[in-house]
Subunit: 212 residues, 2 copies
DNA sequence: CAAAAACCAGACCACTTGGTCAACATTTTT
DNA sequence: AAAAATGTTGACCAAGTGGTCTGGTTTTTG
């Protein structure tokens, strides 16, 4: 069992400092490509100190992962059949795009983790993830059955929403190269509108004026 | 200049052997996570031999990258305004999905490379890529101007096509987890139809019967 | 204020890494 | 068949790795 000493303002502060540095480093160089020493330098602490708070490099990595996942909630999580699919999906896409804009590192780390086989995601998380998926697929299927949106496999719809929105975080280097400059806030707005229109129209929905 | 000794059946054969092993290893563990020793083992050769053909680990990695990129061509590359956008886009999406199914390692390596900042892609490739993009964006824009497809930023449309199709290669671990089993040929067919419908309908096009 | 708990950090270690070198074997060319 | 080019390989190395240990300092607590 991991010891969890209560409170400790210093502990709190230092752990946060280390987590922030680790998130940046892991996002940029991956797990193997990041050394504990480098994280320590970025956090302005000796290496031993990092290992003191997080017992191992992997422990720190998992802590980073969990912190990221805890921030990925959305109104879509609790949507029901009663809700308007156009409204709910548009909101969900907007949420995911905002996360890609504001927390690109998290998305990158998650992507790296999945590409490498997701070996560090706990069974607890995986189980949660599967449950969430089944529940959301259920709602979408009901929308389909009621003829509110086009017939399709709800799994693929969700995959497509994720991939497009996360693309703006994960592949930012490529996007910058191709567009000639880094995407700014206005670009993100436009990309979001573009994606909302594509997905909603692609599902046979019309875009709520709020997102047009 | 890199010496390129003519012919040499042995050379050809060994290099190919090493490239294949390296592709598999890099896709699974990334650049930093793969040791030259491991690649050598997989290729059934001593480490020194690998370094003999490719002067460094990075050299080998770049060779792998170039080999991958050389296979990513499609009919879309040479499409013109005269062509039917529905037909061309549906074909392009199908092509990209087939690559995700048949060559997932390549897609993964490319994704890892981009996430990590694309530092190993040569300027030559980047320039080619930008040119390709501008040319394709031009064609799409003309389709828009002629009212053949919905008004939108062509850049984002292409990003969305890429991200969705590559998602099936890069995030296969997550998909398998969520769907409960690895995607088979039939699943890929269905996913392709689903994506073609989403994108085309999202652009205001109707799906050619061939892809419905 | 003293003891206990928490925190800090240099020295150190076993191990892996990419890469070199020199000697030897094989193939190709003349 | 001699010479030149190409291929093969074990021994070796310097640098970097995650992680431990030990002894100290600071902070918290009774």
């Amino acid at each position: 069992m991991t010891k969890e000493p209560k409170a400790g303002a210093i502990r709190q502060h230092n752990k946060q400092r280390i987590l922030a540095a680790a998130e940046e480093a892991f996002a940029e160089h991956g797990f193997k490509g990041t050394s504990v020493q480098k994280i320590a330098d970025m956090a302005g602490l000796p290496k031993t100190n990092v290992l003191y708070y997080f017992n191992s490099k992997q422990g720190l990595y998992i802590a980073v992962l969990e912190q990221i996942l805890s921030l990925w909630n959305s109104a879509f999580d609790s949507a029901t059949v009663e809700d308007d699919p156009a409204e709910v999906l548009a909101q969900y896409i907007s949420d995911k795009m905002r996360i890609s804009q504001e927390k690109p590192q998290g998305s990158k780390i998650f992507a790296l983790e999945i590409i490498n086989g997701a070996h560090n995601l706990t069974d607890f998380f995986k189980h949660n993830h599967v449950s969430w998926m089944q529940s959301r697929v259920g709602v979408i299927q009901q929308w389909i059955d009621q003829g509110k949106i086009d017939t399709q496999d709800p799994y693929y719809l969700l995959f497509h929403i994720w991939s497009c929105s996360q693309h703006y975080a994960d592949f930012s280097a490529q996007i910058t190269e191709l567009k000639g400059s880094k995407m700014n806030a206005q670009d993100f707005e436009q990309a979001t509108r573009s994606l909302v229109q594509l997905i909603l129209k692609g599902c046979g929905l019309s875009v709520p004026s709020k997102y047009a």
